[in-house]
Symmetry: C2
């Protein structure tokens, strides 16, 4: 059992409806030392993949992706959730269905920062239905870049995202795969 699984058991909180709160160390308050441990494990797993850039999506994936980028020594690119006046023209765009907020939103990256020479490591904090991840894969492939790997902190193994992504042939590494969460708070890892 790695440091993230141990921390989830220690400080994670399970609420009815398969909601796992990791607000104390992963996606509101953040334990940056834990992120460094996550980045080390991620580097060990993907170090031979020739990664040239890390791609994530705002907002809660940015902290993990920052430390992973640092570990790989490559730039970080984060996809933005809507078009602001601070991003001009030429962007790749995709649509993502949000499970948490029950809406659809557009996600963009500037064409300038991703090219067919890139081998992209996609990083995010959570994987459930896989919609955000499919969006990031779509953006990568629109650019003609290669998905060198996908790293997720916490995968909800009882939802279909992980199965779908693996079936499509992507190299998906989830540090903590939760196979079961009961309403009384018991967590079972794969």
């Amino acid at each position: 059992m790695n440091v993230l699984c141990e921390r989830i058991l220690k400080d994670g909180k399970v609420y009815p409806g398969h909601i796992l709160k990791v607000d104390g160390f992963l996606n509101h308050q953040i334990d940056v030392e834990l992120l460094e441990n996550i980045a080390d494990l991620t580097y060990e797993y993907f170090k031979s993949e020739g990664i040239t850039k890390v791609l994530t999506i705002e907002a809660s994936g940015i902290a993990i992706a920052t430390v992973v980028s640092q570990r790989f020594g490559v730039p970080l690119l984060f996809a933005k959730k809507s078009k602001t006046k601070n991003i001009a023209g030429d962007v790749y765009k995709t649509s993502v269905q949000s499970y948490t907020h029950d809406t659809v939103y557009d996600v963009i990256v500037s064409k300038e920062y991703i090219s067919s020479d890139d081998r992209i490591l996609i990083v995010d904090d959570f994987l459930a239905m896989g919609n955000a991840l499919m969006g990031l894969i779509d953006l990568t492939e629109q650019a003609g870049a290669t998905v060198g790997g996908i790293c997720i902190a916490i995968e909800k193994g009882f939802q279909e995202g992980g199965r779908k992504i693996r079936a499509a042939g992507y190299n998906l590494y989830s540090l903590a795969v939760i196979d079961e969460m009961t309403d009384d708070g018991k967590i079972t890892f794969r």
Copy 2:
């Protein structure tokens, strides 16, 4: 002239209407090594302030704040822009006027993660009118915590935020203060 000012001159792009694009290294694609240099300068400036926690606001401040937290060896807390179902009850809340998007939004932090014992270092990427920063100061002071310092990557010195924050007595450290940007792209630092 520090590394951030040098980088702005090299890779920043000025557009009419006092818009500075630093998308290539600071807030879309991110040069994590540059962030480490920013974190080192920030640590030098605030190392005697007894900082216990770094506070920022999603989304584009998170990457800088992550590396600053790492440098100080303290947790990072990022204020969230709206209440999602993944954050329960007890939060401090404030309202922020967005200059970029011309809207008002609520910003929250969980009461659980900020207390009167904390000395908070507030970190953000940009300071213009100071609205987001005033929101973060308000959240800190609602919790009875102390603002130990404020670190900004780029301050638009020709807008009123910095003057207002300094006049209120806060210890504000901006790595790059831009006093003038002309429509033909010339940047003058303070």
